[in-house]
Structure formats: C-alpha cells, structure tokens
Amino acid sequence: MSNAVAAPKKGGFLAGTANYLDERVGVAGILKEFGRKVFPDHWSFMLGEVALYSFLVLLLSGTFLTFFFQPSMEPVIYNGVYGPLKGAEMSIAYASTLDISFEVRGGLLMRQVHHWSALLFVAAAGLHMLRVFFTGAFRKPREINWVVGFVLFVLGMAGGFTGYSLPDDLLSGNGLRIIDGMIKGIPVIGAYTSSLLFGGEFPGEAIVARLYGLHILLVPALILVFIVIHLFMVVIHKHTHYSGPGRKDSNVVGYPLMPVYVAKAGGFFFIVFGVIMLIAATFTINPVWNYGGYDPSPVSAGTQPDWYIGWLDGALRLAPSHLEVHVGGVTWAWNILLPMIVGVGFLVVVAAYPFIEAWVTGDKREHHVLDRPRNAPTRTAIGAAGVTFYAVLWAGAGTDLIATNFKMSLNQVLTSMQILLFVAPIAAYIIAKRTCLSLQRKDREIALHGRESGRIVRLPHGEYIEVHEPLDEFEQWKLVDFKDYQPTLARPNAAGKITLRARLRAGLSRFYFEDRIAPVTQTEIDAAHHHGDHDAVEAAEVKAVEA
C-alpha cells in the first residue's frame, strides 16, 4: 500500500491519471475484469447497438430542442418569419416549433434528427427483438432480459407518441383526438380518465405540457434505467454466439473488448449518428408548417401516424361496423375495445413467449449457442405468423392510401385486410414451417454428400454422375450443430392421473416437434463417406481411362 502511494510519477500524465483514478475508484480492477471481455461478432448483433445509439442521439438532439420549445397551449397570434401562417392564431407550442424550424440555425436539422432517430430507435429495437426471437436467444438464462427488452420496445413507442403530440399541429392533434376517443370508450372510467388526462374537455390547455413532462423526464428516465438493466444482464450472461466450430454453450468466441470491440462499436456509434444526420439533412420529416396548428374541425385526407403506431391505428380501422352494444343504460364500445384487446393481447403473447416455449420443451439447460431459424421450424413459423399478423394490422392503417394509389375500392381493400388478418398468419405459418424443414433436409443432404460441383463425369460403363465436393469439418459442423426435440406423451402423475396440464403440454409438444429433422450423426456421415469413397475410386478409374 505504502509502496503504491510512494510510487514515483514515472510515465507522465497518462500514468499519473491512471494511478490517481485507481487509488480513488479502483479503475485497475475494473479494467482487469472487463478490458479483455470477449464479444462475438455478427452483423445481426448490431441491431441492438443501432437502437442504443439512436437513443443516445435522441438524448442529444432532444436536449437541444428543449432549449427552444415551449410546451404551452396558450393561444398566440403568429408573427414569425413563415409567411403563410402569419397572423394565424395558434398555440405557443406550435409557434415555438415553427420558430425552431425557421429561426434557429440548425433547429430544423435537430428536429429532423430527433424525429428520424426516434423512428430508427423503435425500428432497430423491433428488428433486434426479431433477431433474438428467431435465433432463440431468449432461452434460459435470458428470459427475463427478453421481458426487459420488451418493456424498452413499449417505452420506445410511448416516448415516440408523447413526442409526436408536442408540436400541437393539426396532424398530432388529430392523433390525440383519437386517443381521447379510445379512452372515452373504456368501460366505467372512460370519461373520467379523459377528463383527468386533458384537464377537462378535449383538447383543453394542459395536455401538451403534461405530455412534455412525460416525454422529456419520465419516459427517457425509464428507458435509461431499463437499458442499464438490459446491458447489465448482457454482462452477466455474456453475449450469445452463433453456432460454429469451437462455439459451445460453455464458452464465448469473439474479439476482446479492448481494443477491437471498442474501436468497432465506438466507430459504429459515429456511423449510426452519421446516417441519421445524413437522412435528417436531406429528407424532410413531419413538416408541421404545412399542417397548421390544431383545430378540431379540419382534417387532411391520408393522415398517417408514425410507423410504430400504425398497427394500433390499423386495428381500429379493421374493426367491423356496428359492434357497439347498449345495455341497461351503459355503452360497450366494442368497436374500440376489441382493437385495444387485440393490441394488448398481442403484446402479452410476445412478452410471455419465452416462458411458454420453456414450459413446452421442459428444457432447463442454459443456451448460449444460437439456433439457426431453420433448425427451430415451429418457433420460426410462429414468429412468421406473428410478424404477418402485425404486418396486416400495420398495412390496415394505410387502407385509404392503398386504395387511392392503386385505384382500388376503399371498401374492398378494408374487407380484404379483415380477411387477411386471419388467413395470412396461418399461410405464413405453413409456408415458413415447410421452408424450414426443406432447408434442413437440404443441409442434411449437403452434410452427408457434400456440395454439388456441377461437374458431370461419365463412368466406363456409361453411367453419368455428378461429382460432389466434400465439406471440410468446419463447414460440416455448422450444418449438424443443433438440438433436436422429441414430442412427449401425457404421462400420469404420482396419483396415477393424467392432468389437464399434462395433456395440454403433450399437445403443445406434439404441435411443436411432430415434424422434425434430426441432425446428421457421425454414423450417418461415416456410412455416406464409405459410399463417397466408392464414388471417388470410380472417379479415379475414369481419370485413368481418360489418360
């Protein structure tokens, strides 16, 4: 100890600083623990990084915007530089948004950076979730981190919607009007909740300031907390890696944090920021000056929410007519409640999926090697069905634009969407599952007999064969390294009774694993090679004859 304190200041400023920090915060121990931590490399692991970096960009650009934005709905007469709206009555919030756009240098740029990075944040988080889903990265021990990530996705949507509503323009005002209508439709508490939220009747003069508080304080703070939990768990579990030679559930293969990963990930932050900046500099988004301030009477045709709210708006549109029920003097607005139940139900299934699959497989092992999507056909098919369901709802939010752009009947487009909502996920399920099984069969074929070389050889007795090139053991490993599950029967418990739970589980395991392709075993490969040797001998004979 005394030695360390008395250590001479050799090595100059850097060493001095390092010594200073180590003696106060123990930085040496932190570096020893984390400095050479191994991170696996794959392009799909960057999706989560994109989300993280977009969030940082959101914090930076959002902070800039708060210096100029005024979240007040007090009416003013606009007298700024934007000619077409001069003299118009509008809220201070909308006027200050115009000022940011037309009077602050770089203001419009920052608004567009903020909006584009918000769209990218939710998109990247969604794609990251899909990557995690289709590779089975949510399996033990990462089920809880899946839920944390899910919460982040929902918070991302919440952050997006609260921000979208702040400029108090015609488009966002109509968005709030829809939210107000949905809230009013909630049984018993609807009208009260709406009044509490808006501080009285819609639109009132409170909602923008309230959403502003949520948007700049509560939602980003929660996102930050959940990101910290999310990454903390990544450190605890260490990152998953794709199946490959030498990659096991008991190790992690990749590049050390320092220097390679720091350079790559740090550089990637600047690239993501650069891409957002490039889009923001060249593509207009949310030109609120075209819409005008909020007024409950006008509305423009072809209104669209930001993309991540589209699926909920689509759900509202796809509800059939005349669902509302009036009984005993109260109103059940099923045309609003049903879409809300569908939306919430979908999210609950997404959040609960890891637990459902774990229960069905009964697999209590830790999984750190990722599945190739084809090697879990039923999961991949369920995912495809879920994505399709979401996509139909999402496309449902664009029924009017589809109809006008493709010159179709609006009514028929909507009716088709209603049918597709049920039919398309089932079709997607079947197609995805069959495709996975076919790809697995192809993998088996290649693992056993090698790759088709396109070289046709004629044997002495006249037979034509195509020469197959054998794989090396590393390539082969990628095709055979997956776990195989077998459906189980419902078994009686200790009391000799087959419970409903056991029946359900057996039924689900049959649904999951009835169609399966087992991985190629060594015995099969040896047998195939024997056959292959036979071919090779014949091929050699051919050459001899040719010579």
């Binding site: 191994v38 000619g83 037309f102 602050v104 240098r105 770089g106 419009l108 740029l109 009007r177 829809i178 107000d180 209508g181 009013k184 439709g185 009208a191 009260y192 709406s194 009044s195 509490l196 009747e201 639109p203 409170a206 030679p245 096991k248 559930d249 008991s250 190790n251 293969v253 220097p259 390679v260 350079a263 790559k264 740090g266 550089g267 600047f270 690239i271 490039l278 923001a280 500099a281 007024d295 009477s297 509305v299 509800a319 007519s321 509302e324 109260v330 109103t331 045309n335 609003i336 092992r365 830790e366 909507l414 490993w477 390294d481 195989d484 599950y485 459906p487 991985p519 190629v520 060594q522």
Partner: protein, 346 residues
C-alpha cells in the same frame, strides 16, 4: 427413438448438467472440430498493405476534420433569413458537414479495427449463471439469519400490519392526481348550440343564409359567436362543429319526427365522428356519403347519416335547423344526443 434417450444432461460439460426436457441426445453425434484456423489478412502479410491501410484510416479522420470545419463554416455562411430557401440551405449544408464529421470518425475507427487490429477470434470460458453450491448455501443462510434476527416470519402481528401499511401508503399518491381534471359532469352531453343560434361559416364566423346554400354545396359550420369566446374556443368547437349540406328534398329519407329538422333539403349533422372523434370532413357529392379520413367510417347523408361502412357504430347526430326572419339558418335546439365518440354513461 425411445423415451429413455431423452436427455438427462445437456452437454458433456459437467458444469451444464440440467434437465434437457424433450431434447434428444444422439450417442453418435458429430464431434465439434474446434475453432477453425486463423486466416491472415493482407495487412498482416505485407508491409505495403499495412501502410496503405494506416494511410486510409488517417485520411478518413482528416475527412472528419474537414467535415466538422465545413459545418462550422456553413453555420455562419448560410444563415436563415426571411427567404424560405435559406432554411433548406442551412439544414442541408450544416447537416452534410456534420455527417462527414461523424462518418470520418466512424468509418475510420471501424477500418482501423478491421485491418490493423488483431483479427484472431479468442475463446473465453463461460460460467453458469447460477451460483455454486457453497454460494447458494451461504445465501440461504443469510436469508435465514436475517429472518431469525428480525423475526419476520415469527412475528405475525408486525408482518401483517406492515403489509397493510404498505398496501395503503400509495393511496394519497393516487388521490393527489384527482385535481388533474374536473369531473366531466354533463359537459359531454351539451354543446354551444341552443335555440336560435345562427349557423356560421368556419373559420370566418359569418352567418349563413339559407339562400346561400346551393344544391349540392357543403358548408363547414360553427355556431355564431364561437370565435368571440374568451375561453374554451377549441373545446366548444371540438363538440359543436357541423357539416351543412343541401340535397334535393326528394333524395332525403326522413323519419316523421325529423321531418321538421331540415329546411328545404338543407340538413346539418355533427362533424365529429361517432367512432373516436375525428372530423368527418370528406363529402362525396355524387353519393352523398360523408367519409371520416381517420378510419374510413362512412355515413349516408340521405339516410339520417347512418353508418354504411367502417368501424363507427352510431349515426352522426343531427342538428335540428330552421331559418329566422332574416333568412339566416338557425338551430332549433342543441343536439338531442351527445356528439362524438362513445362513452360509458351515454
């Protein structure tokens, strides 16, 4: 394959011995060949390539410097003035400068990592997430110790009263949100319209004469006096907005009780959609349909604005109108039912 072959252990690693559930372990599974041999890059093999890569990285960082400098220049050189094009130039050139500043650093760093830093992948052991048996035993011991020292399990009275206190303490926190908004009362049932209120054009506020409304024309209407309101202008407008249409009286299918609500083929309907409250602003002149642009609910003006398509359930409420002595259109009364989206008590 028999049930016996279902896995008891996941892998050959003793550390990972858990129940494998329905996983099948083949005794003759292919063996992992281990990490593939590392392939050296050109930059590892040739000094020329290494030096070129180093120059490229440095050049990218220099591009970044140039980009940032240009952004600062653009900030001053392209100010925003009254001319609208200046906003575009400022946004574009400032943004492109910053973009270069960011891309130079980002691509430079990644290029550096990929060409000049070691690219041999390394393997590190993972440890099971669960603690070792000793650690787990010690954790249980600590919990038990804490329990016995505090008497948490033993002292039922303390425990249960604590549960009660914890359950109730958030209550004030919920209550104080009560003043976020007033009790809605009957505000949702009434609008600004009352007997004798003139129908005025939106947004100018000029009253409309019945003779101004030609056949097939449509007017966006607000109650006269709305623009002069000191407070609650938008709140009143959000309930009172009306669409006025004149049809050939022969086209109108009117029930007996509503025969007197229209005037010479002129009908007035609430503009607020009965679905979730968007303005039903699109009028199709040929079919006499009103279409809500938000969720495409469609209402038939000739038939009491009944829903003929889309998610709405109820017809748009009709405003009973007539004319006053000067020939201006006036309301006979308020709407006879609540306008806008459904709510529980309506």
């Amino acid at each position: 394959m028999s049930e016996k072959k279902l896995a008891k252990s996941g892998s050959h690693n003793a550390e990972h011995e858990y129940e494998g559930g329905l996983a099948v372990i083949a005794p003759d599974a292919v063996r992992d060949p281990g990490l593939e041999p590392h392939r050296t890059r050109m930059t590892d093999k040739s000094v020329k390539h290494e030096k070129a890569a180093a120059r490229q990285v440095a050049a990218l960082f220099l591009v970044s410097i140039a980009g940032s400098a240009f952004a600062v220049y653009a900030y001053f050189a392209f100010p925003i003035t009254e001319a609208l094009g200046t906003v575009r130039n400022n946004t574009l050139l400032l943004g492109l400068g910053i973009t270069l500043g960011l891309f130079g650093i980002g691509i430079g760093a990644v290029h550096w990592a990929k060409t000049l830093m070691p690219d041999a992948e390394v393997s590190e052991e993972r440890h099971q997430t669960r603690g070792s048996e000793e650690v787990r035993a010690r954790a249980v011991e600590i919990i038990k110790l804490a329990d016995s020292e505090s008497g948490f399990s033993r002292r039922k009275l303390i425990r249960r009263s604590l549960y009660g206190a914890l359950a109730l303490f958030p209550l004030p926190a919920i209550m104080i949100f009560g003043d976020l908004g007033p009790n809605p009362g009957d505000t949702l049932r009434h609008t600004m319209w009352k007997k004798g209120t003139r129908l005025a054009k939106d947004p100018t506020g000029t009253p409309i004469k019945a003779s101004d409304v030609t056949l097939g024309s449509v007017f966006h209407v607000i109650p006269e006096g709305l623009s002069e309101l000191e407070h609650g202008k938008l709140e009143e407008k959000a309930k009172a907005a009306v669409l006025l249409v004149r049809l050939d009286p022969a086209d109108l299918k009117e029930s007996d009780e509503r025969k007197s609500w229209s005037y010479d083929g002129i009908v007035a309907y609430s503009k607020i959609c009965t679905h979730v409250g968007c303005p039903v602003a699109l009028y199709e002149q040929q079919t006499h349909h009103l279409l809500c642009p938000c969720h495409q609910s469609t209402f038939d003006v000739t038939d009491a604005c009944k829903v003929i398509f889309g998610p709405a359930s109820r017809p748009l409420p009709q405003l009973p109108i007539t004319v006053d002595a000067e020939g201006y259109l006036i309301a006979q009364s308020d709407f006879t039912e609540p306008v806008g989206p459904s709510f529980w008590e309506r």
